[in-house]
């Protein structure tokens, strides 16, 4: 099964989604480095406060975190839908157990989404160490960035071990990329149009973004993934809401996949 799925993934689609991510991160690096090259590093800037996920003075992070579902689901999320339409799945069903097939497709979707987001973010984070000195962020020097408890998860860890905090933030974001990819894989069983099925999780995030304006949680904590996945989010965050939304969305997508297996594949 694993060997088959390795052959099945289209290599060109991986390149497309990696190209979007690396282009966005390259634009962000260029834009934030130009003033430092011009005037020198007067304000003691370090990689920890300049990289893609924490930069508040730039437009690119908004676009990047809104497009995470699209980038995660391009590589391997819609191959289940394509195989179901072409009838290749019926051929596979004779040789391998159906539970194994659905699990394999789900895991490939997850790993494809996880890896694309992980590679783009970690290249952006590590390439900043080539240009800027490794200075620990300080609460008084970097006061203008407003990295406080209300908008950052585990803010104590950020000032103590900024590298560990950055790596944990990257891991959370890439796990969410995997969840979005599984969600696309599950929703694609229920949607007729192939192109809309690929974009279903992106549309889902837009719907959550619009709902966040009407139904506000206590302390105005945001439940949009594009907001709380950033290391320092533009709105308020809460650790309980982050964990709750993560579990809720992953359970919903797994349920949709299992119900879709019973209703749409076996009938």
């Amino acid at each position: 099964m694993i060997n088959y799925l390795k052959f099945r993934i289209i290599k060109r689609s991986i390149i497309i989604s990696l190209a979007i991510g690396s282009l966005l991160s390259a634009i962000q690096i260029l834009q934030s480095l130009i003033p430092i090259i011009k005037y020198g590093n007067i304000f003691l800037e370090s990689p920890y406060i300049k990289w893609l996920s924490i930069d508040p003075f730039n437009f690119v992070p908004i676009v990047f975190f809104m497009l995470i579902p699209l980038m995660a689901s391009i590589p391997s999320a819609n191959i289940l839908k394509e195989d179901l339409d072409s009838g290749l799945l019926l051929h596979l069903k004779n040789k391998v157990n159906l539970n194994k097939i659905v699990l394999g497709y789900g895991l490939t979707a997850f790993s494809g989404g996880f890896l694309t987001i992980f590679i783009t973010l970690i290249t952006n984070f590590l390439s900043y160490f080539l240009f800027l000195p490794n200075i620990k962020p300080d609460f008084l020097i970097n006061e203008n960035l407003l990295i406080i408890q209300e908008n950052t998860l585990f803010v104590g860890l950020f000032y103590q071990h900024p590298f560990v905090h950055g790596i944990l933030s990257i891991l959370l974001t890439s796990i969410w990329g995997g969840i979005f990819a599984v969600m696309t894989c599950a929703l694609s069983l229920w949607i007729k149009e192939k192109f809309l099925a690929l974009l279903s999780s992106t549309v889902f995030q837009i719907i959550i973004l619009l709902l966040n304006m009407f139904f506000k949680l206590p302390n105005l904590a945001s439940y949009v993934p594009a907001d709380f996945l950033r290391e320092t989010s533009p709105s308020a965050t809460d650790i309980k809401i982050v964990i709750g939304i993560t579990i809720l969305i992953s359970v919903i997508s797994i349920l949709l996949l299992t119900i879709g297996r019973n209703k749409k594949i076996v009938w």
Binding site: I20, E193, L196, L199, L209, L210, F214
Partner: protein, 227 residues
Amino acid sequence: MFGKILKQQITLISYRNSVILFSIIAIIVGVSPFQDLEILKSSEDLSTLLSKIFNSFILCFGLIFISLIVSLNTNGYRSNDLLLTKTRIGITTSIIIRITLIQLIVWVPWAIASLATITLTGFGFFIIFTKFQILILYLYAFFVIILLSLIELNILMITNSKILALIIAMAINFFEYYLLKVNIDSLLYYFTTPKSLLGILIRFMIILVLIILLIFSLNKTILKKDF
């Protein structure tokens, strides 16, 4: 031929249930400034009012993003139509009719919902009788959407890849939004922060000329395309 194509496109669109979802999202985008307008009731400053009605962030990621997805969602023509009509202009007209119809389904709910929220919060008299130029801005938004979806379809006809067409059209959209944020006059988002009525009219003419040029180039690519 025009009437027959119109009838065909209406029947094709009526079988697509996903359009209903997108029109509901457009209604939510239109209703979204409700809470901000409640606060603004006392003041009558036009620029702050406009920035609340046409919130550029929600328009960029809500309305225009949705309309870009809708215009690529279905194929506008069947290959049998080539043999039946024996002309390739028929395909161009069917694509243009489909775009205008399907964007009207997104745009009309948005405009109605947005105007309804304005009247509910008590600005209706103020806008319709004293500052009726605002109604032009709604039309401006419609032509912006048509322009972006025509660019998208031109790229689709050249490259045959829907993902690439969506990405390039989105990149143009985000670049214009970036220009708005750094206070440079952008073409597509001028209606969110208009400075003069003459500026709106000039940009309106530019957009209309661009739409006509894009229709000609679409026709040229379809004439030379290998179906």
